[in-house]
Symmetry: C2
Subunit: 304 residues, 2 copies
């Protein structure tokens, strides 16, 4: 008997293009999906997709099911949202802070979407703080902090949102531009541009340069991504940024990107929340919306 599980799998498969990544998205093993889809195909009596192509291509039957899934799953999600609201019809507050400078890109659509569905929850990003955002969490001055480096704090829970890769942006004429990846040593003579935050909060250092004992020739800071890009494009330095923060500049061929090391530097972005708020319907829904929006808006990220 057809179940929603199958439809969710098919959507993941279409979005991902391969069983391996689809499995990640639905939080199952690749093998599980293989079995699941094989079962389904046997029961239906016809194959659903062509496995030998990349991305996979759906047969007519597969297309029909994907179509069904696209009809049905949004309806299911809407119902679930309504139910969550019916279950806990409590007032809520969701004040948040962002430690990650380039998060507005997906956070804004998330907030818009969320506001539509939870009018009774007050969503805001209060400005002008003088304190550490994470410390404001247990003090109930904030309810959610987006951060890439979780620090153990009593009563604070870190909910992984997605994983992203740190890339090195270099000018199009830079000698490193053609390489598949760079070694830490090759940054020893470069000017590295970073956001003006502590050294310890920059993955380039903690995960890449520090372990190799390398220090760039010079480090300078810039507040905004666009400023960094201008500096990089004009050859006045290189800078490390999340892959998704770079996509628009890469598409316009403004700068080039190379991986940090052979395997790349991967980080996880977290939503830090108070333990008590972890199970509230609106928090559950916000996190889900956040994840969905990120995957829809950002390219090259992976499930946590």
């Amino acid at each position: 008997m057809l179940e929603l599980r199958h439809l969710r799998t098919l959507i993941a498969l279409r979005d991902a293009g391969s069983l391996v990544e689809a499995a990640e998205r639905v939080h199952l093993t690749q093998s599980a999906l293989s079995h699941q889809l094989k079962d389904l195909e046997e029961r239906l009596g016809s194959p659903l997709f062509e496995r030998k192509t990349r991305p996979v291509t759906f047969t007519r039957a597969g297309q029909r099911l994907v179509e069904l899934a696209e009809q049905v799953l949004p309806q299911v999600r809407m119902a679930e949202r309504d139910l969550a609201r019916l279950a806990g019809n409590e007032q809520g507050r969701l004040h948040m802070a962002i430690e990650c400078h380039s998060c507005f890109q997906w956070l804004m659509p998330t907030m818009d979407h969320f506001r539509d569905h939870w009018p009774e929850v007050e969503v805001d990003i209060p400005g002008g703080h003088h304190f550490e955002p994470l410390d404001a969490l247990p003090r109930e001055q904030l309810d959610l902090v987006i951060t890439a480096d979780p620090q153990p704090l009593p009563g604070v829970h870190y909910e992984p949102l997605f994983r992203y890769q740190g890339l090195l942006a270099v000018s199009r004429h830079h000698p490193l531009a053609g390489q598949p990846f760079v070694s830490p040593a090759s940054l020893a003579e470069e000017t590295l541009i970073t956001y003006p935050v502590e050294h310890a909060r920059l993955d380039v250092f903690t995960q890449f340069l520090d372990p190799a004992g390398v220090t760039p020739r010079e480090v300078r800071t810039a507040e905004l991504t666009i400023m960094m890009m201008q500096l990089v494009a004009s050859g006045r330095g290189v800078c490390a940024l999340p892959n998704w923060a770079l996509t628009e500049y890469l598409e316009r061929d403004y700068v080039k990107a190379v991986a940090l090391g052979e395997h790349g530097v991967w980080s996880t972005l977290f939503a830090a929340i108070r333990e008590e708020t972890r199970e509230t319907p609106w928090m559950v829904d916000f996190l889900r919306t956040a994840r969905e929006t990120s995957f829809a808006v950002l390219e090259g990220i992976k499930p946590a």
Copy 2:
């Protein structure tokens, strides 16, 4: 995680009004449903329906889910139909005969519905046979026979459709009219009206009178249900018919009905088909449509 199974259960529950009967409809036990619904309610954090009323009443959350189910399940069924057609795009023939005289009531809507979805399958009820319908099945002169008494024949499979209760229709002024049920003996002095078919094919005899060794004073036949009703209403006899064949006359208070014996006489209606045609997509779909239509159109029947 919400699954279609849950939605199917809820629809069954709404249609049935009680867990016990809902369980029958989805071919599960009452306990299974109790567990399933309890789980669901726990995960959603709110009850879905009030169990202490008859029929059960849904909470707001329950209503919302029923609404979802009504949106989604028809879409799923349509998709399944399309898939079945995509899987086996073979031509088919579906010629049938009805042994059960009052089956047109649900068979006609079933055929209409089926024709819309399977234009390539030729559906017909050929008339003017001189042979036994069941014998025509293996000879491929017919493809499906609706019957209430399955006889073992090589290559013939009997697919149960639904169970119904045989009731005794009596005039409104008949002494038996007030009783909850009648004993076989009380028919000894009655005129029994039947369809003009063999004695052995009438449940009143095989399941009720014969075992008790009772013979009615007189047996006369009538071709059509409406004629029988006229005879019964005017006090010229009593007749045994399926409950659903009587509902329209009962509603108009034209005749009264009483059960045959303390526990009633229950029969099962079957679709007799050839083994080879049993798995073909259109046969599977026809049987499903037949069952769905029967339950929608007829009252007082139960799943086989």
